[in-house]
Amino acid sequence: MSQTMPDTPPARGLAQRLCNRFASDGAARFETNILLPAEVLLDLYGEDVRARTYVTSDPDRGEMMLRPDFTVPLVQYHMRGAGAPASYTYCGEVFRKQEDHPDRRSEYMQVGYEDFGGSDPAQVDADVFGRFSDILAPLGLRPATGDIGILIAMVTGLDTTEDRRAALMRHIWRPARFTALVKRFAGLTPVPPARAALLAADNPLQAAGTTIGLRSKGEIASRIDALRADAACAPVSGEVVELISAVLAVSETCPNALEQLRDIAVDLPGILPALDRFEARCEAMTRRGVDVESLPFEASYGRTSMEYYDGFVFGFYAEARPDLPPVATGGRYDALTERLGQGRGIPAVGGVIRPDLLSDLGGLA
């Protein structure tokens, strides 16, 4: 049944204390409305976001959304200013629908720390991760890390057509669809009969009949051209398919993951620059005092739930409570700042902690 318990006072007090801790380290405090215009978020994340957020309508302002996180309004705020490097902290309620997990809270506190404009990515990644790791240390949580940047580099470096690379890039955050596309580009999936007939027809548009709707005959014709061009292209080789699966399957400690990925990179050199960044981050983390030797790394981590992250990603989990969502999550989202800054992007890394879950787990004392 749905959770009606309000945030308990300890969660609120804990949230304040964590926020003060970030602020005393020099982060500026950020506040924003609970009721936000829905348009930006809907445009960024599409229809799926409606299943996870509360969208309502205002007769004058149009669709509004109960704040699902602080990151988007914070990036908008920062990009409106001069954009000088800065770090921020915030705490407040966020709201998420829990259709698949009605036992989880749909209203809870979030405390965040975000760093904009850091010039040394490895250093900033390590610093942000280190801050969360230090705070959560008393709970003995299981950390998880990954790097979407490696997957992006893998797709960018694929020896195939621009259209195929673009299709794969669109679906990095939808693992099942991504795998289906790889198989299709490799010719491992039978061509559906309707597609075969379309490709074989001399003038497929002849059968189109009455044209209705906004999508024009020209658009249909140009997609048919694109499908024909694609059908004429050499399939992605079986070897490359195996390399992609090998990258996605990497799940090891950071040093071992790096070694495995370096082995794969012999045949997939496109990922080398991303691996250099991974290595630099591991070194920076070691300098920061993180136990990198035992820190887990999963190449596929962060693909399903964190669409705006495009580099380093991390989370902290209570292993004894698999029913709970992650206690903290974060990562790098340079591309989001570029989208919201109309092309003017800046490096951005951050994370959030859920003080309510900290309380559920017995607090930090």
């Binding site: 809907l42 599409g46 229809e47 799926d48 409606r50 299943a51 259709e99 009605p102 299709a167 669109r170 679906h171 939808r174 099942a176 669809r177 289906a180 299709r184 559906p192 309707a194 597609r195 379309l198 497929p204 548009l205 059968a207 189109a208 009949g209 009455t210 044209t211 209705i212 709707g213 906004l214 999508r215 005959k217 658009e219 249909i220 140009s222 997609r223 048919i224 694109a226 499908l227």
Partner: protein, 230 residues
């Protein structure tokens, strides 16, 4: 102190429901004037007939205000989160068959599968600057289906009726709606995607898992279920 049975309050769905019950020795009828939503049950004691819009029956079952209800599986699954924890389907009634499907203009000769729909949506968004619009009233079911099918770059627009006309009226590019014969779709120059339907629906007798029952009511419910042979 009665078992409440909710059935659709008008149209073919009501008539067919009455027929189905009467074939099993339970006579349902509307009483009073044509406009009054009151009903009677004969053939078994202790059962009250509640005439409701088919769309409200899922909510009434989930709230426990009726013990049994006849409505479409589409409405149950669209309107109730974790529906199977709130109601139990007792028996499909063999009428009211309809599939919830995605349809696109017939002139889209390049779109036959969900994979095509995703490809066309990507190109459409790049060209027009907004996400491809799909008109429907089944938001949750359609969104879930398209997410599982890996379709991105679309948006749902609400359409509570005459959904087949939205494409011609340029308020949507595609639709997701209930169809039985497909005739309305063809008449509106639309074709069904070659993909498993979002849902195959039919009128079904549901039991509320949450409605409270006294011992007497429990006996009546058992007698009714026995009589219906479900």
């Amino acid at each position: 102190m009665t078992i409440k049975l909710g059935v659709p309050s008008k149209g073919r769905l009501m008539e067919k429901t009455f027929d189905w019950f009467s074939a099993r020795g339970v006579t349902l009828s509307r009483t009073g004037s044509d406009r009054e939503y009151a009903g009677a049950v004969e053939g078994i004691e202790g059962v009250d007939l509640v005439l409701l819009s088919a769309g409200e029956i899922p909510r009434e079952l989930a709230a426990g205000r009726i013990h049994l209800g006849v409505t479409g599986t589409d409405l149950i699954q669209e309107k109730l989160v974790q529906w199977d924890q709130k109601v139990e389907p007792l028996e499909p009634l063999g009428f009211g068959h309809a599939n919830l499907i995605v349809a696109v203009p017939s002139c889209w000769v390049d779109v036959d599968t969900l994979d095509d729909l995703d490809g066309a949506a990507a190109a459409f968004r790049a060209r027009h600057g907004f996400r491809m619009r799909i008109a429907t009233k089944y938001h949750r079911l359609v969104r879930d289906y398209l997410r599982r099918g890996g379709v991105a770059d679309y948006q749902l627009v609400d359409s509570q009726g005459a959904t087949e006309g939205t494409v011609k009226n340029l308020t949507a590019e595609a639709i997701a709606d209930i169809t039985s014969s497909g005739e309305t779709l063809r008449a509106n120059h639309l074709k069904i995607l070659q993909a498993p339907p979002i849902l195959e629906s039919q009128a079904t007798l549901f039991r509320s898992r949450v409605a409270q029952k006294s011992d007497t009511e429990r006996d009546v419910l058992r007698a009714l279920i026995d009589r219906l042979g479900v």
